[in-house]
Every structure is written in C-alpha cells, then in structure tokens.
Symmetry: C3
Subunit: 321 residues, 3 copies
Amino acid sequence: MPAVPLSDIVSFVSGSYDGAADVMIEGVLPLSEADGRHISFLSNPKYAPQVASSHAAAILVAQDLPGDDPRWIRVANPYIAMARVVARFFAARPAPQGISPHASIAASTNLGADVAVGAFTSIGEGVVIGDGVVIYPNVTIEAGSVIGEKTIIYPQVSIYHGSRIGRRCIIHSGVVIGSDGYGFATDDAGVHHKIPQVGIVRIEDDVEIGAGTTIDRAALGATVIGEGTKIDNLVQIGHNVRIGKRCLLVAQVGIAGSTELGESVQVGGQSGFAGHLKIGDRARVYSKSAVFDDVPAGVWVRGIPAVNQREYVRQQRDRKK
Amino acid sequence: MPAVPLSDIVSFVSGSYDGAADVMIEGVLPLSEADGRHISFLSNPKYAPQVASSHAAAILVAQDLPGDDPRWIRVANPYIAMARVVARFFAARPAPQGISPHASIAASTNLGADVAVGAFTSIGEGVVIGDGVVIYPNVTIEAGSVIGEKTIIYPQVSIYHGSRIGRRCIIHSGVVIGSDGYGFATDDAGVHHKIPQVGIVRIEDDVEIGAGTTIDRAALGATVIGEGTKIDNLVQIGHNVRIGKRCLLVAQVGIAGSTELGESVQVGGQSGFAGHLKIGDRARVYSKSAVFDDVPAGVWVRGIPAVNQREYVRQQRDRKK
Amino acid sequence: MPAVPLSDIVSFVSGSYDGAADVMIEGVLPLSEADGRHISFLSNPKYAPQVASSHAAAILVAQDLPGDDPRWIRVANPYIAMARVVARFFAARPAPQGISPHASIAASTNLGADVAVGAFTSIGEGVVIGDGVVIYPNVTIEAGSVIGEKTIIYPQVSIYHGSRIGRRCIIHSGVVIGSDGYGFATDDAGVHHKIPQVGIVRIEDDVEIGAGTTIDRAALGATVIGEGTKIDNLVQIGHNVRIGKRCLLVAQVGIAGSTELGESVQVGGQSGFAGHLKIGDRARVYSKSAVFDDVPAGVWVRGIPAVNQREYVRQQRDRKK
C-alpha cells in the first residue's frame, strides 16, 4: 500500500489539526498498535486512557474531546472518519485480473465488461455475469445463475443452478447458495422420501454474506434475502425463508424453513428460529435465543424459548433469588 | 424445463378433475405465486384462504375438501401428489456430463459406467467410483475412498482418504467427510499432543448430507452414518459417532465423540450431545437442547440440560409463575 | 499400511509381554472391533468387560490391571502407548507429492524446499511457503500470505491475502482464514455501510484448525490465534479476537469481535462469547453456554447467561424443586 502524506488525510476528513503534516502515513491502527507511520482514532471512551501513551503520528478525535495535543485531528465523528480514511487510502486488496486461462467457462456464459475470473473457477451454461463482477479462484457457479454488476465472489463459493444474485453483493469464501432444502416425507415404515427442491435463491442488491454461510433453495418458489441485508459467518437459512431489507444476522444464526423476517430485523449470534414464523419489522432477537413464536414489529425478544425483554428480565430476577 | 399438458399430470396422479385439461403447465408453485402456467396444491389448512385468490391453472386438493372449483384436482394426499408431480415432470437439473478434461484423476482410480466428473475435481489413487455417480466441479476425493453407485456429490466437497460412501447418497456443497477427530493428550506443561486419527468414515446407502456439514473420521475404527439418515446443513459429527438408520438431524446440530444414536432418532436444529452417550431408537430431541445423559428408546427430551418432556413442561410452568 | 511384527511393537512401548510375538499386526482397533490382525488397548475402565471377549492379537493394559492373560502387554499408560504405536507404525496417509502441474502458482511465490502442492490449488503473488509445507488440492492462498514450515493445509481451504500462518499448523478442509469481519456503520435511514476490514489474521505455531471453521481478519491490526491452540470444527472467530496459547475450543463455538482469551482457556461445544470481553488464563466455559461478561483467571462458568460453577449448581437445584 503506498504511503500517503498526512496533509492529504487531514484535508480529506476536513479535520482541524495543528501538528506536523508532512509525515508519510502507511495505515490506520488501534491506539495501542500504531507507531509513527500510522494514524489512529478515539471513538469508544473506554480507550481514552490509551491516547497519551499511543505512538501514533496523529489521532482522529471528537470536536469536544477535553484537553489538547498537537497530534489530534478533531472531526465530527472519529469512527466514521477512520472508516472513510481506510476506505479511501488503505483498503486496496489483491484481486483477480481478467479471465484466468485456468477457468472453465461454458460457451453460453454471458460475461459483462471488466469481469475478472480466477483460476479453477467453473461457470456453467447460460450464466449471466454483470459488468465489473470479480470472481476469485475455485468458485463454482452452476448453469442458469445470474450475478449482478460489481458483485464480488471470494474463493470456494458454490452457487447452485438458477440462483439470482444482485448488484454490489459480497459473498465470502465457503458460502453455499442454492443447496437443497431439508424436505422429506416419511412413510409408514419410517423411510424418508426426498421432496424435490426445485425453487431458487434470490439475493437482492448490496447484500453481504459471511464465510461458510449456507442458503438453501426453495422447495417451490424462492428463498429471498432482501436488499442491503448483512449476514455474518456460518449462518443457516432454510428453504423458502424470506428476509426483508437491511436486516443484520450475526454469526451461527439458524432460520428454519418458510420463516419470514420483516425489514431491519436484528438477530444476535447463535440464535435460532423455528419454521413458518413471521417476525415483524425492526424486531430484535438477542444472541443465543430460540424463537418459537411470531414476533410483532418493533418487539425485542430474548431467551430459550424467547420471550419479550420485560418478561425475560423478570425471569432472570427470579432465577437469581 | 419443457411444459407438460395438464392432462398428463392429472392422469399421472390419478386425480379427479373436471376442468380444462389442454393447458400447458410449466411448473408447480405455492398458491400465492402460481399463475396460469402453474399448478399449485393445498395441504396445510392454514393456506386454505389462498385457494380462491390463487391464479394457478389447477390446484391439487384433498378428496374431501368442502366446496367445488373447476380448477381442483382431487387426490388422496395433495402434498405427496405435488412432490410426485415435481419429481416426475419438473425436477431436472443441470449436471456434469462425462469426464471433464479439466479433472485430475489418478491412474489407479476405478471409474464405473456412466460416471460424470466436473472440472477441477481431483480424485486420488485407488478410489473406486460406482456406476452412475455424478461428481460436480471442484471436489476433492482422496486416495482409497469408495463411492457407491448413483451417489451425487455437489461442488466443493472434500472427502478424506479411505472414506466409504454408500449408494444413492446426496452430498451437498462444502461438506467435509473424514477430517481428523478432535483428539489430544495434554501433558503436565499444558501442551496438547495430537492423537493420530487413523479410523475412517463409513456412510451407508441413501444418506443425504446438507451443505457445510462436517463428519470427522474415527480415531480408530469408524464413524458411521446409518442407511437412510438425512442430515441438514452445518451439522458437526465427531469422531467415532455412530448414527443409526433413518435418523433426522436438523441444521447446526453437534454430536461429540463416540456418542451413539439408535434408529429413527430425530434431533431439532442447534441441539447438541455430549460425548460417549447412548441415545435409544425413536428418541426425539427438541431444537436448541443440550443432551448430557443417555436417552432411553422412545423418550422425548428438551432443554439445557435436556430433560424429558414432562419435566420440561413442569420447569417452564414454574418459570412463568 | 505394511504389517508390523508384534515383537517390534512390544519393544517400542517397552511393554511387559509373555505371549506369542511373531504375529504380524496390521493396525490398532477398539476392543470390540479388533481381530487377530490387530492390537487393542484398555484405558477407560468402562470397557474392561470387553477385554475377555475381544479377538485382538494383543491388548495394551495398565501395569496393575488385576488378572492375567497371555495377550496382555503391560505398560505405564495404555492410552498414551496406543497413541504412540499408532503414530509410529500406522498413521501414514496419502498426501500430494511435489508440485502438481495442475496448480496455479504466481511467479513471485517463494516456495521452500520439499513443498507439495496439489492439483487446482491457486497461490497468489508474493506468498511465502516454508520448507516441508503440504498443500492439498483445491486450496486458494491469496497474495502476500506466509505459511510456516511443515504446516499442512487440507483441500478446499481458503486463505485471504496477507494472512500469517505459523509452523507445524494443521488446517482442515473448508477452513476460511482472513475473511472480512462483520463491521457496519448504520446511517439514520437504516442503511448499513461497510467498515473496511484491512487487518490480518496471524496464527502462531502448532495450531490445529478443524473443518469448516472461519476466522475473520481484523478491522485494523490482527486477529490472533496463540501457539499450540487447538480449534475444532465449525467454530467462528470474529475480527480482532485474540486467543492465547494452548487454548481448546470445541466444535461450533462462536467468539464475537475483539474478545480476548488468555492462555489455556477451555471452551465446550456450541458455547458463545459476546464481543469485547476479557477471559482470564485457565478459565473454563462449559458447553452450550453464553458468556456475556469478563471471566477472571481460573474461573469455571456455565449457563445462559454464564455464571460461575457454584451459582450454576444453585440455579439448577432451584429449577428441580
């Protein structure tokens, strides 16, 4: 990563700064790890004691932070400023360039402009890849899938046939999209007969999916992940689940078949949902909970089985008596 | 998927139907999503209100459903009929054909008749692949493994050396079979020494394994998955676990080393078992439970720690007081 | 695996044995599975009744086991003796030899001596691979990563750019190292903006990582896994987590961002940690627990939310009343 004059950074964040500005900055690090080649930031007051002892060349701080230090760059929101500086100056990462001669791309694949495909990636018949899509090595995209423009697909991802992925999505390594839902009919002898899973997965724009997450295709129709939803690692999404826009699902969450989440629902890590539930907009589920009933819009729930926040607090109080 | 005359479908399900039969059907969809090109079905009474407003060309319904509609096809079991129609007419999916020139297959591999192997799949020395096996791209099968006839292996699967997979199994993307069990001996200095894991994994016929599931090889002997057992996504099976025939393990279940499940055991999502337990035939474990003790045959358990159903209900009653 | 004269095994473990020693041994198996070609062992007294009926050629037993049998080989610690015999005589496994002509290795990769790289493995620019490293097929190692000597990387592993892996590590199939942490800033309209994740993952020497485990790169700085720590399958490690030396993390554990574990911490399966916690040296977390607060050194905790062992026992007693 090329070094950047500190003056460029100060100017980019419209910061107020009186220290030396001709230093070359190589990156952003936490207060305790930065040295004279880095800038740092203070957003969580918990870390304020580390400011004085930090070796950072300069530190992004709030406008109203009491005290003074020539190294401080005062800005409206140090956390956002830090994120913008990183994104602007220090976030470049190596990526495949062009189409690898070691990729296997079906003749009927429709490749957009400026697409990159890594080595040992296999793309099936009739797949449509939008402009600016980047596909890393060792990915498999089966026939008939559609990948929207500027989406990034990291290594070892598997996308089953007929999947529809939106624009500007980020799909991390090991993700599986479109695997068969868990559907069986058990006969009188106890033998489980497979119900064919012939639906698809549809992922809308600006969705990020964490490493190792699995999203099953619908039995019929579609499993849907709404626009702007962000999913963490090792999450399991069952067949025919519908997740609304701008939800947050933290790691190791599981959602059983046909459950629907509204918009802006937030779910803590390791929580689970039974099937066929309706979870209203802006509902929140605390981590390590198990939701067995519908949750109305705006309600926060917690526990196993999950109850609303007030009832949970009452139960915990009793438990400690 | 080619369209099918509705008359062919009515005849295939031996349905009783008086409506127009010359319509061409392109697929099966839920009531709310179907239009004039689809048939639909009513099996869960919860969805009965959607029948009148559905735009489906025809609807599979029960023999005794009250009311009448020219679009109804009356059958004994609408759910089973739907599944059979899908399987017969609409379940074709793209799959690798023949042996890809981009696969790496050891000279000593024994390939059966009509085997398909996708691009960038690597098959080790002495592997035996049965007739009609389909292996998708980017799969690794290590030396000495045996894959039974008509088994399907989806992309990105990893099968360690010496694994034995039965006939007609379905193994979804990202599954790992035969990785080392978690076995260490800790010395007085607190250093953990690896216990070599030299057993195998044996998977019997007609097993389905969901995306991202991991099954460790035995330390000695074999980890066994019994015939007809169906495992969902992101399940963890420890070394030397033995699972009986026709069990159902829902997503994100974990089973610690050497635990044995009998036949037809059912385990809900996100539940876990400690090691060295014996779980009897037809036992059921509710989702989000933690089993720390043996469970007798036929007993249903629930909770953390899991207790029998009656005790669980009593505990919950107290909790709500 | 070539057979070994029993006399060699007896001599290797310095055992006391009076039976026939000219038998050829093909492996080690549990008492109930061994036949005349195998040796077995008795370490857990629970299995003592199986000794008499075992068909093993010889059995490793403790010095002071009451009774006598010509097949017994008396040793100080039968479990350790068994592990040593397996490691010495029966643990060879097939592995890639040399550099596969089907691998894709960037010109600027720095390969050590005696490195093996399997087919369809992709290694990016500037990667440094130490002496004796073994990389199986279908692995992706992105630019700028460093792999220490004698480390083993199984199939389908994905290592993002700039990762640092120590010496003698074992990384099982499907592991993802260095994927983006889950970091977003939500604006007033509820839209989640990605915080660039530009740190790295650093894994020290002698770490083993189980199949399907995911370890996110730091937002800034490093996510660290300490020397000699052993991680089981399907574990999730968030960004900026720091794990000390010689910890044990059992399957399906999840650790949220910036939490720090000291040395020799042990965590049971399916347990989780909230973010930004400090867990002291030698703390233990029982399986299926949820840790929401710091844990002092040496303290054992359990439950959801986790409390110390004494408080947990009290809560369970009340629950059973």
